[in-house]
Amino acid sequence: MPRPSFYQEEYYPSPMRHTWTDFQRNHIALAGLWCLLFFIVAAFLGPFLVPYGPLQQNTDMLLLAPAWNVNGDISHLFGTDSLGRDILSRIIHGCRITLGTSVILVLIAMLVGCSIGAYAGISRGLRASVINHLLDAIMAIPTLLIAIIIVAILGTGLLNSMWAITLALIPQFIHQTRDLVRREFQKEYIVAARLDGASNHRLLVKDILPNMVEVLVVQATMALSVAILDISALGFLNLGAQSPSPELGTMLSEALDTAYAAPWSVALPGAAIFLMVLSINLVGDGLRTALKNRLLQ
């Protein structure tokens, strides 16, 4: 006997899928995603593809203009800098350093920040109020300033600047997670689960975390763009990665000496940072809009 199937005709996408469909509708965000994927692929595979090493000097070709210039040479697509190093190779290696370190430190900051934030979210009374007040005070200070102070204590260097930015990023994750956990804890499905005898830990891991993941991803993209800007800013100020390293900010500050003779050696690494941050911001914005649309339904 054929059963009537009311429900089979309608397709209920999973939340993740729903967000993705909504995200796809935003073409600019999609373009940002492709651009970001390009950078990630370049960071992973680029170093094996480029013909020159990041530190390899070619003294016959100092300050060569990019290939599209009249004085350019196709063997160096983006031209060379004052030591005859190929700028394209350096930018690709630089993407690896800048993007890679930023991703790592955002992940660490997210892990630590979310744990502390979850703890702050479920704790009550004096402990919570101490954490709140401390957070408000720290949140008021911009990340770059905190990073500069920490670098001043630890000393310069890429690793130290990574620590500094990680520490500086943690407060916003704590803040976000704490607010989320607190809001979720008042909802009825949590009360129901609690009546079933679920412990705080179980509630956090099994019920709240799945609901938080997407918001945290959006927050992470924002943090990632801040991290890239900060790490290259520290590199630019000679507080982060040190000189021969092809970190994008460091490259920029190195190119300053020849900025008048070779404007491309300033323009191109900066453009790489700009495009990277722009694509991340586009993806983050698209995700945020998609998420908002889904939650509104």
């Binding site: 709140n132 770059l144 300033l145 500069i148 630019f236 100020l237 900025a259």
Partner: protein
């Protein structure tokens, strides 16, 4: 009301206290001798070192040591810089206005530009106007501020030669230092060539202010747009329209008030972002402000100066943020619950 003010003041004092404590602890964390880091005087003889130890009460335990340090800090005795041997507090007082001036003008520009654009984008939500303003602002805050200022220098100073590329004013003019705000100083001075000096100072201001304000404008636009969209989607706006109010009445009486006041603290936060960006911009434009000084201090490992600069900048930031919050609380009673920490 009084309770709210007391709470904010309490927070302010506690935060400043923590900052002082942090800066005291920093003197011991920094490499080198703690006494040198506190005073800035490299200990020459045992006698001098003993005298300094007495001054900072280091041998009487950490508590009275910190108490003495706090008293010295409040009195304006922040030690001397390791390199130049000038008192740090006076240096900071001289340099801070330059940074504040730059950030202030940038803030004013970003509010003047960002406010109408943000409101426009919010009102025309999901139209082409909204999309274009949003994409412009998204581009704007993706700019690394150092790259942006370098590009501006490359284009306007080096290629076109319209504007000067560094400093506050041409060395030809000798401006007496009174307030530290250069435009105010010029206007107050008794110079024969006041107009020329003013024009020159303005020309020096253009590029740093522009490169600072582009990023902040973008952030301001986004903040305001989101707030306007949320307010216009709420029920009381619908109710106001149903009541028969015209667009402009709804806009001025209900829309703007509710959209702008709650985000005032967030707008104030932008000032702190601005101050940090100003540090980078100062280095690029050789603007004699606190950021440039602090970064030079880090290069030269001048620890007393780093300690003082950090304390000054974060104190300014925290004081500014908290006073704006308090101001909003006075203007906007709906925030009451948040201030009593009820959620």
């Amino acid at each position: 009301m009084l309770i709210a003010i007391a709470r904010r003041l309490n927070l302010l004092i506690i935060t400043l206290f923590i900052l002082c404590l942090a800066s005291y602890v920093l003197a011991f964390l920094f490499p080198g001798d703690a006494l040198t880091n506190l005073s800035g005087i490299p200990a020459l003889s045992a006698d001098q070192s003993h005298q300094l130890q007495l001054m900072y009460a280091l041998n009487e335990g950490w508590f009275s040591g910190f108490w003495t340090y706090l008293k010295l800090t409040l009195n304006g005795d922040w030690g001397v810089s390791l390199n130049s041997q000038t008192p740090i507090f006076e240096d900071i007082l001289k340099l801070l206005p330059a940074s504040l001036e730059l950030s202030l003008y940038a803030m004013v520009i970003s509010l003047v530009v960002g406010l109408p654009l943000g409101v426009l984008a919010g009102l025309k939500h999901r139209s082409y106007t909204d999309m274009s303003i949003l994409s412009v602002s998204l581009t704007g805050f993706s700019f690394p501020v150092f790259w942006l200022s370098l590009l501006l220098i490359l284009i306007f100073s080096l290629q076109l030669g319209y504007l000067p590329m560094s400093g506050r004013i041409s060395l030809l003019f000798d401006i007496p230092h009174s307030t530290g705000f250069i435009l105010v100083d010029i206007l107050r001075s008794e110079m024969p060539v006041k107009d020329a000096a003013l024009f020159d100072a303005l020309r020096h201001l253009v590029l740093p202010t522009l490169s600072l304000s582009i990023v902040t404008t973008a952030l301001v636009i986004r903040l305001i747009r989101r707030s306007v969209v949320t307010v216009y989607a709420s029920d009381f706006i619908k109710a106001a329209y149903t009541k028969g109010l015209s667009h402009s009445q709804v806009f001025w009486r209900h829309g703007m008030k509710n959209a702008l006041l709650p985000i005032m603290p967030q707008l104030a936060m932008q000032f702190t972002v601005l101050l940090t960006n100003a540090m980078i911009v100062e280095v690029i434009f050789s603007w004699p402000g606190i950021g440039e000084w602090l970064i030079q201090a880090i290069y030269q490992r001048d620890f007393p100066a780093i300690r003082g600069g950090m304390l000054a900048v974060s104190a300014v930031v925290v004081t500014f943020t908290i006073s704006v919050e308090l101001l909003v609380r006075i203007l906007y009673p709906l925030n009451k619950r948040q201030f009593y920490a009820q959620t």
